[in-house]
């Protein structure tokens, strides 16, 4: 957190939230402790009742000057005077106390969150004091990495997807409402309809498919040659299909395949060696195959 005045390239070591805040303020300004650590806590725990929509007890906690302005009954934050700060008293009461905040059974602040508020009040409840002035503050919760795009946005291809679904009798469903989470090939309703020809016909959609549920389908090793070109495929379920070790060899070098299920297939003890040629592989199942004994070694 010392690197505040460097340009954005120098912010790499900072937690993502700080980096983001810094970027929005401008590379020259150091993010304030209030903006990066205190305000988000107030937003998360308090503003639903003490904000623009509701002002219980006449209190708003959504802007710094309003926090200091206090409630109908008086100030709630006295800078540098923790024990006189009603806000601090309320968030540290036992859960059974009628006056505890947040009220109505909402989750209380964690000890780390309370400490952040306490340090901020003790050091003057400033809106500008930089985050680096609080080296003893508990580390912020790790911010979830920004969603990684697993596949290109499929939405412009809707008509094509629908036509292929109809023609092949398969389901191609979005993995989630996030358009870059990719598509799932789903065959559970009629697995026998899905064969090598169907996999070949799906080639135009290959970049969007991140998961192929092919258990009990009629595919053979031929399909695996095609699946090798589905470069965004992460998860492949081949349970109870005819695929063999030779087919697995055709997948060699697939850059992103992480999970492969070979339960009840004809693969043999050559399977672990073939799987070893999948650089991104994380999980494998070989139950019910001749290679099952090697599963532990190959899979985990």
């Amino acid at each position: 957190m010392r690197s505040s005045r460097r340009r954005s390239g120098g912010l790499r070591g900072l937690p993502a939230a700080l980096a983001l805040a810094a970027a929005s303020i401008g590379a020259a300004a150091e993010p304030s402790f209030y903006a990066t650590r205190v305000a988000p806590l107030l937003d998360r725990h308090c503003v639903v009742c003490h904000g623009p929509d509701k002002q219980k007890a006449g209190l708003r906690l959504d802007r710094h000057e309003l926090v200091l302005a206090g409630a109908e009954s008086g100030v709630v934050v006295v800078p540098a005077k923790l024990k006189e700060s009603e806000l601090y008293r309320r968030i540290t009461l036992p859960v059974t106390d009628e006056e505890v905040m947040p009220s109505d059974g909402k989750p209380l602040l964690t000890p780390d969150e309370v400490k952040v508020i306490a340090l901020w009040i003790e050091r003057g409840a400033s809106v500008t004091a930089p985050a680096s002035a609080f080296p003893d503050a508990p580390a912020p919760r790790p911010v979830r990495a920004a969603a990684v795009a697993l596949a290109p946005d499929w939405r412009s291809r809707v008509a094509e997807i629908a036509a292929l679904e109809r023609r092949l009798g398969l389901r191609i469903v979005p993995r989630s409402q996030v358009a870059t989470d990719g598509l799932v090939l789903r065959t559970a309703s009629a697995p026998r309809r899905c064969d090598d020809a169907a996999i070949a016909a799906l080639a135009p959609l290959a970049p969007f498919l991140v998961e192929a549920e092919l258990a009990r389908t009629a595919i053979s090793d031929t399909a695996l040659v095609a699946l090798r070109t589905w470069e965004n495929l992460r998860t492949l379920d081949l349970t109870r299909t005819r695929v063999t070790t030779a087919g697995l060899a055709a997948l060699a070098g697939h850059p992103r395949l992480e999970v492969i299920n070979l339960t009840d297939t004809a693969v043999d003890d050559g399977a672990p060696a073939a799987l070893a040629r999948l650089p991104a592989l994380q999980r494998t199942w070989l139950f019910g195959t001749k290679a099952a004994n090697e599963a532990a070694a190959a899979g985990r």
């Binding site: 979005p174 309703s189 199942w285």
Partner: protein, 515 residues
């Protein structure tokens, strides 16, 4: 693709025109026609837009349109779909109705051994109102577990000797010790767990998932319930379709209950003298009549009815295949044990649950009841544990070795806890325990929960929660989260409210148990 924007209207054009409506029925007096139209509700009005969809679905069944896109009407209405990428694709809820005591299962309280027959301190009970079954007791004597505990797995889970098989799963389980509920009797408590509300009439968890995610396999119901044969014949809990109903959601989201004996689904077999073609013609006829009714009245429930006939027809082929265990390898029977060959047993139902999971059924709920040990607890809980332990272990192990556990959430538990004090006479080797809503234990496995983990703590008497309480609403919010659904967004407009599984009271996803 089952998204509204993917829906190809051209497929439905032969049914999309305006209906002649009530005015064209020659035999209906004009006054009655006016009254009828006046009664047409907003729902009927809005429902008319759905009419074409039901017809298209029927067309699919009859082979007039390609399969796949044209599925069941509710799916085409556009299931809200996962809000974010899911961890779990399916769940199997092993519901131990009657409520196993936490003291003899997963909440080890070694300190109680020295307190045998001492009175429960009044400060612990804190003036709590008790059930009529023990409120009049002169004393509340502490009853330590007669069963011993030992540690298992790398995580060191304390497990009771009643569950030697399940204990071997220690490093796969996520044990919650701090669930709590408001309900103190079975029916409301079971309802609250299954539907989120103590009053009957709400959609159950499986129905919400069906509504939110649609079907992964259109040949089978999205939500299946099985009730197991009872090992004990006392204190039997009533289990009924209140617990697996679709409530105010479309009826097709309700569970199909597979029967314990005889045909798993009634009337799927052709009756004597009736062949498949005649059955098909009958269903076509009924559906045509229903479609005509729908054209006149526009009640969406008519479409649900058509969908149910279609589902029944599809189940005529999918259910015999599902229930034919003859292709199971010897390793299956070695794992589940010989009882799994007897339809209706808990062991059979556990194996069936695995087969349903393989086929993409989203939510399977297996009930095993008579855990309600108000008296003779030591004997009866042992009988129950013997019934439950091995098949439960077998199911989780089977899912795991087949690569299904990663995206199948398994839940095992009852509807509330039991009291630390004995109901009735306390002897060193015999006692009973009353209902206790303030804390109870449950375990989860797979489906994106943290393995080899325990969450929540109770006090020395397992009477009050001292750390990390989990309300049933929190469990529901977490379950939906694992399926990629935001519990605050998954809603259905009914009685003027955006109804949700978690209701309107505060609820949270338990982040700490997410893997």
């Amino acid at each position: 693709m089952n998204r509204a924007e993917l829906h190809d209207p051209s497929l439905c054009s032969d049914h999309g025109g305006e209906s002649p409506g009530v005015w064209h029925l020659p035999h209906v007096p004009a006054g009655l026609k006016r009254e009828w139209l006046a009664l047409e509700t907003r729902r009927h009005f809005l429902g008319r837009g759905m009419r074409a969809l039901g017809a298209a679905s029927l067309a699919t069944l009859l082979g007039r349109a390609g399969p796949g896109l044209m599925a069941r009407p509710a799916e085409m209405a556009g299931a809200p779909g996962p809000h974010f990428a899911p961890k779990a694709k399916r769940a199997i809820y092993l519901f131990m109705a009657g409520s196993p005591s936490q003291f003899e299962t997963w909440d080890y309280k070694p300190g109680l051994a020295k307190m045998f027959d001492q009175d429960l301190p009044e400060s612990v009970r804190g003036g709590q109102v008790l059930t009529g079954m023990t409120a009049s007791q002169a004393r509340f004597p502490i009853a330590p577990s007669v069963y011993k505990f030992s540690q298992h797995g790398r995580c060191g889970l304390w497990a009771s000797e009643l569950f030697p098989h399940t204990a071997r799963l220690a490093d796969d389980l996520c044990v919650l010790k701090s669930l709590h509920t408001e309900a103190i009797n079975h029916e409301p408590a079971i309802l609250q767990l299954t539907t989120g509300n103590m009053f009957a009439g709400r959609p159950s968890m499986g129905a919400w998932l069906s509504y939110g995610l649609g079907a992964a396999n259109e040949e089978l119901p999205t939500f299946v319930v099985m009730t197991s044969k009872m090992p004990v014949r006392t204190n039997v809990q009533a289990l009924s379709n209140r617990l697996w109903s679709s409530g105010f959601l479309s009826p097709e989201h309700a569970a199909v209950a597979l029967r314990a004996g005889g045909d798993p689904v009634l009337y799927l077999n052709h009756p004597g003298g009736v062949d498949g073609e005649m059955r098909r013609a009958l269903i076509d006829g009924v559906n045509a009549l229903n479609r005509q009714l729908y054209d006149e009245v526009g009640d969406p429930e008519t479409n649900a009815r058509i969908a149910q006939y279609e589902m029944a027809f599809r189940m005529q082929t999918s259910v015999p295949e599902l229930t034919d265990f003859s292709n199971e390898p010897a390793s299956t029977w070695d794992l589940y044990g010989p009882k799994a060959k007897e339809p209706g047993t808990y062991a059979y139902n556990c194996l069936m649950a695995r087969r349903l999971a393989e086929r993409g059924v989203r939510f399977t709920q297996v009930f095993l009841r008579t855990w309600d040990q108000h008296s003779n607890l030591p004997t009866n809980i042992r009988l129950m544990a013997e019934e439950s332990d091995r098949p439960t272990y077998a199911l989780v192990t089977d899912l795991k070795r087949r690569g299904l556990l990663d995206d199948t959430l398994v839940l095992w538990g009852g509807e509330f806890g039991r009291t630390v004090y004995s109901q009735g006479t306390l002897r060193p080797d015999n006692y009973g325990r009353d209902h206790h809503p303030r804390c109870f234990s449950m375990w989860l496995a797979g489906g994106g929960v943290k393995p080899g983990f325990s969450y929540g703590e109770t006090d020395d008497f397992s009477y009050n929660i001292v750390k990390d309480p989990v309300h049933i609403r929190d469990l529901h919010a977490t379950l939906l989260h694992l399926f990629g659904l935001d519990h605050s967004k998954l809603s259905f407009k009914f009685q003027g409210l955006d109804q949700r599984l978690t209701g309107v009271l505060p609820s949270r996803v338990i982040d700490a148990i997410l893997a």
